[in-house]
């Protein structure tokens, strides 16, 4: 079986090179974006400040763009039977005019989201504050569950690799950091360790050789991630693609963003659980007893 090959054919140290390379690549991607833009991922309108307006698509995109030409227009996009018009930061009175103009033309059919500078600044501060808290809380729970430093550390490292990969994948796919993607990253922090916990529990608590136990856990673990991916996939289809087929449907931004990050994170999770974490456990469980006391082999 191929799966078994991956798990047991090569010595752990060789296989571990792959996740190390992936983490390094992810860090490079985040680092390059950081050097270019000042933040490791591209910030969406919620974090930069600005206004989003979606209106029913009754005229051509150019006509709509012309109508809003006097405001700091960034982009007009077709999202199903509606246009999404994005504006950069503007003054309060400008926004007030914009809101009045939009309401007088489209009434309550228009959707408007305005994020002032205080809002976006506060949101940035919140993400910087809460993302690490979330991660630390997760790590604390993992340590309480296992009460074994090395095993817990492997779980936490796998989770970190998931988050880094998911964040790097945002840069590659062009998904910007929004409230939805932050929620997805937080969810990944908590969820991605589930399979790691399963794996480590099985390896620690069951009888049998480590390789057998890992392969046994794999079946359950693939199933777990599989059902979650199934749910995420149905959300992706409905929020992001259905509007291309069914004209009356509309793209649901917050959900489309959220699920794109989740799908990448979950893919990374499969890899990190069954390669990074599993190989780490193989090395740890099969290590010569002496090294357990801290001596080098």
């Amino acid at each position: 079986m191929e799966l078994e090959d991956i798990v047991s054919k090569y010595p752990p140290k060789q296989i571990m090179l792959i996740p190390v390379v992936i983490i390094v690549l992810a860090l490079i991607s985040l680092g390059v974006t950081y050097l270019n833009t000042g933040s490791p991922v591209k910030l969406g309108v919620e974090f930069t400040g600005g206004t989003l307006v979606t209106v029913p698509a009754t005229e051509s995109e150019d006509a709509v763009a012309a109508e809003y030409a006097k405001y700091p227009l960034v982009d007009v996009r077709n999202i199903g039977n509606r246009y999404m018009i994005q504006f950069g930061p503007m003054s309060d009175s400008e926004y007030s005019d914009l809101a009045k103009q939009t309401v007088s033309k489209y009434g309550t059919d228009a959707e408007i989201r305005h994020m002032g500078p205080i809002y976006s600044k506060e949101l940035q501060a919140q993400v910087l504050r809460y993302l690490p808290i979330s991660f630390l809380l997760m790590a604390a729970v993992v340590f309480v569950v296992f009460r074994e430093l090395m095993v817990s550390l492997l779980v936490v490292i796998s989770a970190l690799a998931d988050i880094l990969t998911a964040a790097a994948s945002m840069n590659i796919t062009g998904v910007q950091l929004s409230l939805g993607t932050v929620a997805a990253l937080l969810m990944l922090i908590g969820y991605s360790v589930d399979t790691d916990i399963l794996l480590s529990m099985r390896v620690l608590k069951r009888k049998g050789t480590t390789d057998e136990k890992i392969i046994g856990a794999m079946g359950t673990g693939f199933m777990m991630t599989g059902t979650t991916i199934a749910a995420v996939f149905s959300l992706i289809i409905v929020s992001n693609f259905l509007y291309l087929i069914i004209p009356s449907f509309t793209r649901m931004d917050i959900i489309a963003d959220m699920t794109t990050v989740l799908i990448f994170g979950l893919a990374a999770d499969i890899f990190n659980t069954w390669v990074t974490n599993a190989q780490g456990l193989r090395w740890y469980m099969n290590r010569p007893r002496k090294s357990a006391r801290g001596q080098k082999r």
Binding site: T54, R82, S96, A99, V103, S104, G107, T108, D109, A110, E111, I112, R113, I118, Y119, Q126, V127, R129, L137, M138, V141, V142, V145, L179, V182, A183, L186, M187, G190, Y191, V193, D194, I197, M201, R202, K207, E212, K213, I215, G216, G219, M223, M224, G226, T227, T228, A230, A231, V232, F233, S234, L235, I237, V238, S239, L242, S248, T250, M252, I254
Partner: protein, 559 residues
């Protein structure tokens, strides 16, 4: 039938069934509330500006600078201020010291101000910042400044009077007190209620932001409504049992925060503009209120509703006969009820103006039609998710008897969750619905863990999909030396179940704690999502999965 009988004796299964039934009844009777993004309407996000600060300054120095005085002396509970030359008669009133005595002698004016050191400091901050200032703590005294200030701007303001904010982290804290946030929320509530608006939700986030949802209103109107003051009017009763107009709200130049006096009486002090005071005096004399106050009560109206009515106090009636009086007080009696009434009157006197300076940090509107469409799309997404999950489960176990209970358990978790939401009256927004679909996906995970632990108890073999579950379960039962019928109470079964639950508890706890920060993030935009995931995890681990463990055990061991 024996399966049902056995299960009905199990506490966990009974609890599960009862909770599920309750949830269905709750949803049926109380219904579900939907958030603004599914319902249509507009929202405003306000930030309350302010800070709580300590101040290091001598009141004498403040008075000296404010009055341009040659000397300031504290005598008992008053300050004696000597000012060279003649002082404008309204100066003390303008600076907030009403009831001061002024005597001019030998080209020197002697002003006696009755005030505590804290009053002097409060007045100084108030006049210079054009905002309310309130003492919120004593020892050390802390002032709540209800407008946008920074430590530096406050220091700059205090420098001319030789004062400063003491160094240290606790001497200047951004944000206002919980009471003030509450008060602001009440003002908004009462104002929006007075306008007769339906379906308004005012929430406080982070003790710093107030979020207002106005269902069925466009954002341009919403900004107008929240920003527009009410219409305040003072009227006086004339001879023929009629009231006539005296003043509008623009004549009220300031309103003080209500204060109880020593005898427990409550009142709201307010100041009229100079012209306002003259008009008020004339009206009181014309109506005859200065001669017989009881027959000609003064009443106040906000948006045509009477909010206060009382006769002129005897000494006020006396003074009004001679001079216009700028500083008045609306007295409402004594006791706790009066204290509440005073606070309410304070809000009304300010024409519904907010006690704190606020800025709109974000706003927007959602289309009702779009909301309806999103709801439909999410229901479709939910059904697709359920179907996809069922297919995955079937693909793995190839056994209808496992797939059905699994999908049913997962679905019942969703129902229970909706039951809680309808009981609590919480709103379901778009993100919450996405959360529910995520719970379908992650909830099944844990059922998979239970099933796998039970099926392949102590052996560690790869999945052999060519063997049926029955075979594997039977083999497992045989291996552990247990007969099929007693399997669910055997030690082996229970130890496997408990091992499954260690994994589940660990997994559930990590998911829940990682979501905790989201409850406080993003101005409440994702609170619903986080809450659904957390509650879903708790509900699943505490009620649904234990019952599922029993049921699936019976099914696997039975027939």
């Amino acid at each position: 039938m024996s399966l049902l009988e056995d299960l009905s004796k199990d506490r966990r299964v009974v609890l599960y069934a009862v909770v599920l039934a309750l949830a269905i009844i709750l949803i049926g009777t109380m219904g579900l509330k939907f958030g603004l993004d599914l319902q249509g309407g507009s929202y405003l996000q306000l930030q309350l500006q302010g800070a709580v600060a300590q101040v290091d300054v001598t009141p004498e120095k403040i008075l000296e600078v404010q009055f341009n005085a040659s000397s300031v002396e504290k005598l008992g509970n008053s300050y004696v201020v000597m000012v060279p030359g003649i002082v404008k008669a309204t100066l003390p009133d303008d600076l907030g010291y009403s009831g001061s005595k002024m005597v001019e002698q030998n080209n020197v004016t002697k002003i006696t101000i009755i005030a505590t050191p804290e009053t002097v400091i409060t007045n100084f901050l108030k006049t210079n910042l054009d905002a309310d200032v309130k003492i919120v703590a004593v020892g050390p005294v802390q002032y709540e400044i209800r407008t946008n200030v920074t430590r530096d701007s406050l220091n700059a303001l205090l420098a001319p009077v030789g004062g400063r904010v003491p160094t240290g982290e606790n001497t200047f804290v951004d944000g206002v007190t919980v009471e003030t946030v509450d008060e602001t929320k009440k003002v908004l509530d009462s104002k929006l209620n007075r306008l007769g608006l339906q379906d308004i939700r005012v929430r406080v986030v982070d003790n710093k932001y107030i979020l207002i949802d106005l269902a069925g209103m466009d954002v341009a109107t919403a900004q107008d409504v929240v920003g527009k003051p009410g219409k305040f009017e003072i009227r006086i009763q004339t001879d023929n049992n009629q009231t006539i107009h005296v003043l509008y709200g623009d004549a009220v130049s300031s309103v003080e925060i209500p204060n109880g006096d020593r005898s427990g009486g409550w009142g709201v002090p307010f100041t009229l503009s100079e012209e306002g005071a003259a008009v008020f005096q004339k009206a009181a004399i014309d109506a005859g209120a200065v001669k017989s106050p009881d027959a000609h009560p003064i009443s106040m109206y906000l948006d045509k509703d009477e909010i206060f009515s009382a006769p002129l106090a005897a000494e006020l009636a006396g003074s009004l006969q001679k001079v216009p009086v700028r500083t008045l007080e609306a007295r409402v009696g004594s006791g706790d009820a009066a204290s509440e009434k005073a606070k309410e009157l304070y809000i009304h006197l300010r024409e519904g103006a907010l006690p704190v300076n606020v800025v709109i940090v974000g706003s927007g509107q959602v289309s009702a039609a779009l909301g309806k469409q999103f709801k439909v799309q999410m229901v479709i997404a939910g059904l697709i998710a359920l179907l996809a999950v069922a297919l995955m489960v079937f693909y793995r176990y190839r056994e209808r008897r496992v797939v059905l209970p699994m999908v049913a358990t997962s679905f019942s978790e969703v129902v229970m969750m909706l039951g809680i939401w309808s009981l609590a009256g919480w709103q379901l927004d778009l993100a919450s619905l996405a959360g529910i679909i995520m719970v379908i996906g992650t909830g099944v995970d844990q059922l998979v863990i239970i099933t796998d632990e039970l099926i392949r108890g102590s052996e560690a073999v790869p999945v052999e999909s060519d063997r049926s579950i029955k075979e594997r379960a039977a083999e497992a039962a045989e291996k552990s030396g247990v007969g099929k019928a007693v399997a669910t109470s055997s030690k082996v079964y229970l130890s496997r179940l408990s091992r499954a639950f260690t994994i589940i508890l660990g997994a559930a706890a990590t998911t829940a704690v990682a979501m905790l920060p989201l409850l406080y993030m993003g101005f409440g935009a994702l609170t619903g999502f986080a809450l659904i995931i957390i509650v879903g995890v708790i509900l699943g681990t505490a009620i649904a999965r234990p019952a599922y463990g029993r049921i699936i055990g019976h099914i696997l061991a039975g027939n």
